[in-house]
């Protein structure tokens, strides 16, 4: 059973999860070939999967593995559209660190 836990992260939190999978909600600011730059309380480089179809300006939830340079190698992703409250998304990422007991075991 693939039940890997994916803690929520944003740009400032990625360093806590090197080599591990995370969930990150961010808005696409730039697309270059198969890499995209997402804004998630800071800039994050995402190495996209071939079928990711990123659209500039849209918010995505990316499940990806954190690389040593704090980029994300995407495993899965979902288009959340344009109308997402990023303050809430970033709050959730930070709060799930502070109160990780209901989100993931440290």
């Amino acid at each position: 059973m693939s039940s890997e836990i994916t803690p929520r992260a944003n740009a400032p939190l990625l360093h806590l999860f090197q080599g591990k999978p995370v969930r990150l909600i961010g808005r696409v600011t730039e697309i270059r070939g198969e890499t995209a730059t997402l804004d998630a309380a800071g800039s994050v480089t995402v190495y996209a999967t071939r079928d990711s179809n990123f659209k500039e300006g849209n918010v995505y939830e990316v499940i990806g593995r954190v690389q040593p340079d704090l980029s994300l190698k995407m495993l899965d992703g979902m288009d959340f559209g344009t109308n997402i409250d990023m303050d809430n998304a970033n709050a959730l990422a930070e709060l799930s660190q502070r109160h990780h007991e209901i989100f993931f075991d440290k």
């Binding site: 059973m1 693939s2 039940s3 836990i5 994916t6 803690p7 929520r8 400032p12 969930r23 909600i25 309380a41 918010v59 939830e61 979902m78 959340f80 559209g81 109308n83 997402i84 409250d85 303050d87 809430n88 998304a89 970033n90 709050a91 959730l92 930070e94 709060l95 799930s96 502070r98 109160h99 007991e101 209901i102 989100f103 993931f104």
Partner: protein
């Protein structure tokens, strides 16, 4: 860096709006009867409040002994709600089993199909990769495997709900662990100790209710029947509020969804929590 979040005021509405159907499906007679195996189910099980949780909280829930209720943060819980992604669907004759994952864990949710329209249920039902809102009863089996019997499985269309659902689970968790930190009268947002999270019931009370919903709450809080176990019949609430029973029923279902009131002996009787 701190985030001052006012997610209740932003998404309390969305939760309900996306859930116009959501609320009525949950407690509508159709939904309840069809979603239970035999339709024979003790009323006591439906009494309890709906608790927003993460899947990890379900997996971590404790049980005093194999037949007792599950406990989350020391509070008995039987009906839970959460949002997650469908990772697998298994269609069987009488039910569909969905494997749901929310980043904190994975759990199976079983939904019994309507006897009269099994095919349409499945065609319009959730597919792999969909984010879904689940409301269901927590069950365990002989091997201590946990499962949720889904009363409602609704496909999420506004993805703010994904974020909101986990913030709400966290707010409830903190509120349960630290009840003393709740704002006093709840009149203003003065209480920000809990990382900026307002205890959800206070905020709902203050801001996001329609005047009808407020009147229902006021009526219940002043009702003499509030002291009884049965609470107040929906027809009596309607008379006192002066609105038609159907809209009052909807208001009650919404308030019950928020955990402000709950059903007692049947779906026509309500009490304040």
């Amino acid at each position: 860096m701190s985030y001052d979040i006012g997610y209740n005021s932003n998404y309390g509405g969305g939760f309900g709006a996306g859930g116009g159907g959501f609320v009525s499906n949950t407690y509508g007679s159709d939904g309840i009867n069809n979603s239970q195996s035999g339709g024979e189910r003790s009323i006591s099980e439906s009494k309890s409040r709906v608790r927003p949780v993460t899947i990890k909280q379900i997996l971590d829930a404790s049980q005093a002994h194999p037949d007792s209720e599950y406990s989350v943060d020391g509070v008995d819980v039987s009906t839970v709600t959460f949002v997650g992604i469908v990772r697998n669907v298994l269609n069987q004759t009488t039910n569909s089993t969905y494997r749901i994952e929310d980043g904190t864990g994975t759990i199976e949710v079983r939904k019994f199909v309507s006897a009269d329209k099994p095919d349409s249920d499945r065609i319009s039902g959730p597919q792999m990769g969909d984010y879904v809102r689940i409301i269901g009863e927590l069950k365990s089996f002989f091997n201590n495997k946990r499962q949720v019997n889904g009363n409602l499985i609704r496909i999420v269309t506004d993805y703010n709900e994904v974020i909101y659902a986990q913030l709400e689970a966290l707010a409830l968790h903190l509120q349960t662990l630290h009840p003393e930190r709740q704002g006093g009268t709840g009149g203003t947002h003065q209480e920000t100790k809990m990382a900026g999270i307002q205890p959800s019931t206070r905020s709902y009370t203050n801001e996001n209710l329609t005047s009808l919903q407020r009147r229902v709450l006021d009526t219940l809080s002043s009702a003499v029947e509030q002291a009884s176990n049965e609470g107040v019949n929906i027809d009596i609430i309607s008379q006192r509020v002066g609105a038609n029973p159907h809209t009052v029923q909807e208001a009650c279902e919404y308030l019950s969804e928020l955990g402000l009131i709950y059903t007692t002996i049947d779906y026509d009787h309500y009490k304040l929590t």
